[in-house]
């Protein structure tokens, strides 16, 4: 049918290959390490760069972190003294200390951090609609050629929101088939399993076989499968679902209880810790892009990084007791575990929130939103080991060298996976849009 040909055209995939020059990617990508899987540890709320990876010990009291910079395994790059385990693996990471944008609200900045596209406005409650850009993982599952039993794009264990759901977590105009395989269960709970992979009560394999037999019987009568692509598409999804339901490989990937106790403890028996462990298992099983959300809420005593210091939620006590220990337990563990398994060369850990925090400490002894300059972290895959890109000014207020925008981060992520950032997709108005409008940060490529 001609409509199907038009549907192909709509994707814009063939377009970019056929009409636009794509030589750049192939030429430059030759001989480089390639990222097969990205684990995006999304730090909801906006972590303070000034109390973690971009310490400024020489600023006046009103600006200075109560923490001290401590030397790390990367010479000349001290980090916060409350991250001692992290300090040991700094020689495996790249920091980008000059990320900046203009979005001061969680949802607009969050969308920017999840999609690499600037929102149309800095709206506190940006609406999640098909007008907005898809999640990184949706783009990757559309453009990457990997096909396995594990869904290409997985996300868990929260849907993040600040009031309304933050856009950028779904496939948006790319279509539902590129939505993430979302796991809403807590991987830290005993008996963690996916409801999708559990048959309803009383329906065992014998009954499932009866059901399939009956379905196939009716399908054989109409022969719709032979004639109609829609029918075939439905059939393929059913086969895939049945395969996932019965596959030991899939079952194993999601079965955290098969993991040695010691490893589970190393990641920490927290929702976030076990989510990072699950991410490693899914990377091993062949997923391409994994979003792990740190917290469903922006802030609070056991929420995200939104440390204004509001009453009963004082910044530094929460940093001391919760945010920093949790980070110091999980992030280095994940990096080392990947390395131990020989997966770090093909797996890129990307640690980033939606913005940083104000250089000046506010009158509640907290820090407010600061998109003008903040730090993100990469470890593994096609990104350099032990490197710092970009410099912030004396107070960590603005980039003073090599400023980087969120779209440059997306361009770099796609590029390191072998996907041309200039590849086009079509939005709901059929406008051609590059999957990233930014520039690849070439100095950080391994």
């Amino acid at each position: 049918m001609s409509c199907s040909r038009r549907e192909v055209l709509k994707t814009g995939l063939a377009l970019s290959a056929g009409v636009f020059p794509t030589g750049l990617l192939n030429a430059a990508a030759a001989g480089r390490k390639k990222t097969k899987t990205v684990i995006f540890l999304h730090q909801w709320g906006g972590p303070s760069h000034l109390d973690t990876f971009d310490m400024k010990p020489l600023v006046p009291d009103a600006y200075r972190s109560p923490y001290k910079p401590a030397p790390s395994s990367l010479a000349g790059v001290p980090i916060c003294d409350r991250l001692p385990q992290m300090a040991k693996v700094m020689d495996r990471v790249t920091l980008v200390r000059s990320v900046h944008h203009e979005m001061k609200n969680h949802n607009s900045a969050g969308y920017y951090s999840l999609s690499g596209y600037a929102p149309p406005s800095d709206d506190q409650r940006l609406r999640d609609s098909q007008e907005l850009f898809p999640a990184y993982g949706s783009i990757v599952s559309k453009f990457s050629q990997r096909a396995g039993k594990i869904p290409a794009f997985c996300s868990f264990p929260h849907v993040i929101r600040d009031g309304s759901i933050t856009p950028g977590q779904q496939a948006s105009f790319l279509g539902k088939s590129y939505d993430p395989f979302f796991i809403g269960q807590d991987p830290n709970q005993a008996g963690f399993s996916l409801p999708e992979l559990v048959l309803p009560d009383g329906v065992g394999s014998a009954r499932l076989a009866n059901r399939r037999e009956m379905m196939d019987l009716v399908d054989r009568q109409t022969r719709l499968n032979e004639v109609n692509s829609k029918a075939r598409g439905i059939g393929e999804n059913y086969s895939r679902a049945m395969e996932m339901l019965t596959s030991t490989e899939i079952r194993k990937a999601f079965d955290l209880s098969s993991e040695p106790q010691a490893i589970r403890e190393r990641y920490g028996r927290t929702t976030y810790g076990q989510s990072c462990l699950l991410a490693r298992r899914l990377a091993e099983a062949g997923a391409s892009f994994i979003n792990v959300y740190f917290s469903p809420q922006i802030g609070g005593c056991e929420g995200g990084w939104d440390t204004h210091g509001f009453r009963e939620k004082p910044m530094y006590p929460i940093m001391d007791k919760y945010l920093l220990p949790l980070t110091d337990q999980t992030l280095p563990t994940l990096i080392l575990d990947l390395e131990d398994r020989g997966l770090l060369d093909s797996t890129l850990v990307f640690w980033a929130g939606e913005f940083g925090r104000t250089p000046k400490i506010n009158n509640l002894s907290g820090r407010d939103h600061w998109p003008q300059c903040y730090t993100v972290l990469f470890a593994g895959g096609g990104i350099k080991r032990g490197y710092v890109h970009g410099v912030s000014d004396a107070k960590g207020a603005f980039p003073s060298l090599d400023p980087v925008r969120p779209e440059d981060l997306s361009a770099t992520l796609f590029y390191s996976m072998g996907i041309d950032p200039k590849s086009e997709v079509r939005d709901s108005l059929n406008r051609p849009l590059p999957i990233s409008p930014g520039k690849v940060i070439e100095p950080i490529l391994a």
Binding site: M1, S2, C3, R5, R6, L9, G18, V19, P21, G23, L24, R125, R127, D128, S129, Q130, E131, R161, G163, S164, I165, G175, K176, S177, G184, P195, E196, L197, V198, L199, G202, V203, R207, N210, R211, R212, M214, L217, V218, D219, Q221, T222, L224, E226, V227, N228, K230, A231, I234, G235, N237, Y238, A241, K422, E424, S428, L429, N430, R431, P432
Partner: protein, 735 residues
């Protein structure tokens, strides 16, 4: 329809291009389009590329002149050695150019550019290109068999009279990869197809429709019959030599009619009665019955609630119900659609006492209102023209903002707002008054001058004295001099019944997106107009045509390029699927937040939770509907409803809670039939009749007997058989 750009690299010298003394506007500006330099992905993007920005697709040649000649300290142009100019060197990739080689050395564009620079890179005497339109000759081309290539000419009609051949200076956008312009006015069509090639020159566009069919097809005999729809479809099919499929079986028709007119499946009794009826007019009789049922208005109220953004966050629960009821009653009364539009556009007052005002409650600024109005009622996507002239149509930024100006005086008095999330400015809970202020106009984004409203398509401009602009716009909707309304609505109705618009995408009428069958669209629009813009007569006419009743394609059928020779097979919509399960199992579904709704199609809102206060997860019912494509109604677009098939849907059907609850409920149809002591044969017939509108085959009966016998528990056996039926493609698809 997608369009993509072709670059003419290295054209031979044409007749009517003055390559010796080229003029910037007439010769140089067009080659920036021809070379693709000014497209969105390159220098035409918002920020340009490499510090060099051109206006998008050359909509502002004066700007482009400045960019070329004056910006960057004039370094792009070298008058002493024109061929060493940066712009020339980049275009032929003598110096590194991210966009690659755009022109060959000594090609026409190259020569034009170099000669223009050599003569001082002067601006034109006037910025008026002096053309009224462009035309492609021929307007349509049919290629048969191995015939793949033909010539076209593109003529610019000059204001001063006469024409100019601009064939070698136009840029092209093509709907299909197989359709390509080549050297100097040649077009090559590689595949058997039907497509459009659009030429573009200095802001003017002209399309040509190209069809290529295989040789072996035979000519069709002349059309026999009366039906105006079948006649128009047949005449087009005769042109591409593809015979229409025969009329479908009673079973298929029954299922189609129930789903398309009522969004529902028949009961076993209804199916049995229709199949047993031997009278010749039984299809018409069924259609009349279905048009009169409440479900008909519920189904159309659901479709229009999608379009009019009837959702809980902005309208609140009370508003959603009131708006839905108003919409549903309009369809129940078969209110003329222009009247429906007028009532929406002129709605004022409390959105609780004047429910039509919820239209504005959901559209909070003049631009969004104008875009929604144009898309829903006129079938036009004018969004592009908010920021720049529409790249594929005649709409200018001024047209856009003059339309928005109609809506610029809408104001809200928010009497109360008990929003659960105080930070969320999209959320409203409580009464609001929609009112008109006495002043206000949108501003021209370039000149910042206020713009009086003007009817789209070159109509009249209203004065500031007109008391109510929106009332005038509402009255204009159904007037004869509105060329957009009737075709757009006829196309929408056709889409909902046929699964594919005559113009596709549905709400994208434009000069470069031609209807696949213009006489058919005209005939439908005329019929709709004659019948006073009422829905039911149009629906009835379509459903009774042989075109609607055609069978779906079978193996070996030729490709009809979307010309309605065959019926389109589509997935059941989310609500149809859920209601279908509910009907088959005779077990009512329940919808959180809408206890009054007995069917998914009758749920007034989206049923989604959205705010911090209701942070809990959506109900399994809402998740089910969303997974199968129910839109969240945050856009004014048919496209928001997804028709995709996904892995998530398969899990809902295999291991999900919604279907399991219905299947295992003791008092469902399985339970009732087993309790009544019905035989296995009788039970199977009941399920087949309602789910598939047919009787089971002998083979199916025998195999089911085996499955039931094999099952340890007869009830479980039946649950499994029914699961198999409702997961068959025959159930999940509408053929």
């Amino acid at each position: 329809m997608s369009f993509f750009l072709y670059f003419g690299i290295g054209l031979v010298l044409p007749a009517q291009v003055d390559s010796l003394s080229p003029n910037f506007l007439n010769e140089v500006a067009p080659i920036l389009s021809l070379g693709g330099c000014n497209q969105g992905a390159c220098h035409g993007g918002l920020h340009g590329k490499g510090g060099f920005k051109l206006s998008l697709r050359g909509e502002d040649p004066a700007y482009d002149y400045d960019a070329l000649v004056k910006q960057a300290g004039g370094r792009r142009i070298s008058n002493p050695i024109p061929s060493e100019s940066l712009v020339v060197q980049k275009a032929i990739a003598k110096v590194p150019h991210e966009g690659g080689k755009r022109f060959k050395e000594n090609s026409i564009p190259y020569t034009l550019l170099v000669n223009w620079i050599a003569q001082g890179s002067l601006p034109p005497k006037s910025w008026d290109p002096g053309i009224t339109s462009i035309e492609i000759v021929p307007k349509e081309k049919l290629l048969v068999g191995e015939e793949k290539e033909f010539s076209i000419r593109v003529m610019a009609l000059l204001k001063k009279g006469g024409v100019r051949d601009v064939t070698s200076l136009v840029a092209y956008d093509s709907s299909d990869f197989g359709l390509k312009p080549t050297l100097d006015g040649k077009v090559v069509c590689d595949e058997f197809m039907e497509g459009t090639l659009a030429a573009r020159f200095l802001g003017k566009q002209a399309p040509i429709r190209v069809i290529r069919i295989p040789q072996e097809t035979k000519s069709l005999p002349p059309f026999q019959g009366e039906n105006f729809i079948d006649k128009a479809v047949y005449q087009k099919l005769a042109q591409i030599r593809i015979p229409p499929k025969g009329v479908c079986s009673d079973s298929i028709f029954l299922r189609r009619a129930f789903l398309d007119l009522n969004g529902q499946l028949p009961t076993p009794q209804e199916a049995r009665a229709f199949l047993a009826d031997k009278t010749p007019a039984k299809r018409e009789k069924l259609v009349d019955q279905l048009l009169d049922r409440a479900e008909f208005s519920q189904l159309w109220a659901m479709k229009w609630s999608d379009l009019l953004r009837n959702e809980e966050k902005t309208l609140d629960a009370k508003g959603v119900r009131l708006f839905y009821d108003w919409i549903r009653r309009s369809f129940q009364d078969d209110k003329p659609l222009d009247q429906f539009a007028l009532e929406l556009l002129s709605a004022r007052g409390s959105t609780y006492s004047q429910p039509a005002g919820n239209y504005y409650r959901g559209l909070r600024d003049p631009e969004t209102r104008a875009e929604a109005f144009a898309q829903v009622f006129l079938g036009l996507r004018i969004q592009c023209a908010r920021c720049h002239n529409h790249p594929f149509d005649r709409w200018t930024q001024e047209d856009y903002h003059r339309l928005a100006s109609f809506f610029s005086r809408i104001q809200y008095q928010v009497l109360e707002n008990n929003r659960r999330d105080i930070l969320d400015k999209h959320e409203f809970a409580g009464e609001q008054i929609v009112w008109l202020s006495r002043s206000g106009m949108t501003l021209d984004p370039r000149t910042r001058q206020p713009l009086l409203p003007r009817f789209p398509g070159g109509g009249e401009t209203l004065s500031g004295q007109t008391p109510d602009w929106l009332l005038e716009l509402g009255k204009w909707v159904g007037k004869k001099d509105n060329p957009f309304f009737a075709p757009a609505q006829a196309n929408r109705v056709w889409f909902h019944l046929m699964g594919r618009g005559i113009v596709e995408p549905l709400e994208d009428f434009r000069s470069t997106n031609l209807p696949i069958n213009p006489p058919l669209l005209n005939a439908l629009a005329e019929y709709f107009t004659q019948k006073g813009y009422r829905l039911k007569p149009l629906v009835k006419a379509i459903v009774l045509s042989q075109t609607y009743q055609a069978s779906a394609s079978a193996p070996g059928d030729p490709d009809d390029f979307g010309n309605f020779a065959q019926a389109k097979v589509r997935s059941l919509k989310a609500e149809e699927l859920l209601d279908g399960l509910s009907r088959v199992l005779d077990f009512p579904a329940r919808f959180p937040g809408y206890p009054e709704a007995e069917r998914a199609i009758a749920v007034p809102g989206t049923g989604l939770r959205y705010s911090a206060a209701t942070r809990g997860a959506d109900s399994s019912m809402a998740k089910f509907l969303q997974s199968f494509g129910k839109p969240s109604r945050s856009l004014t677009c048919e496209c928001e409803r997804s028709e995709e098939t996904t892995l998530g849907q398969a899990f809902h059907m295999i291991s999900g809670p919604v279907i399991h609850e219905m299947l295992s409920a003791p008092e469902n149809r399985i339970g009732k039939l087993l309790t009544s002591g019905a035989s296995d044969e009788k039970i199977l017939k009941e399920f087949f009749l309602t789910a598939l509108c047919r009787y089971p085959s002998v083979q199916e009966e025998n195999q089911v007997a085996v499955i039931i016998k094999r099952s340890a528990d007869r009830r479980h056996g039946w649950e499994d058989v029914v699961w198999g039926i409702v997961n068959s493609k025959e159930f999940l698809l509408r053929q």
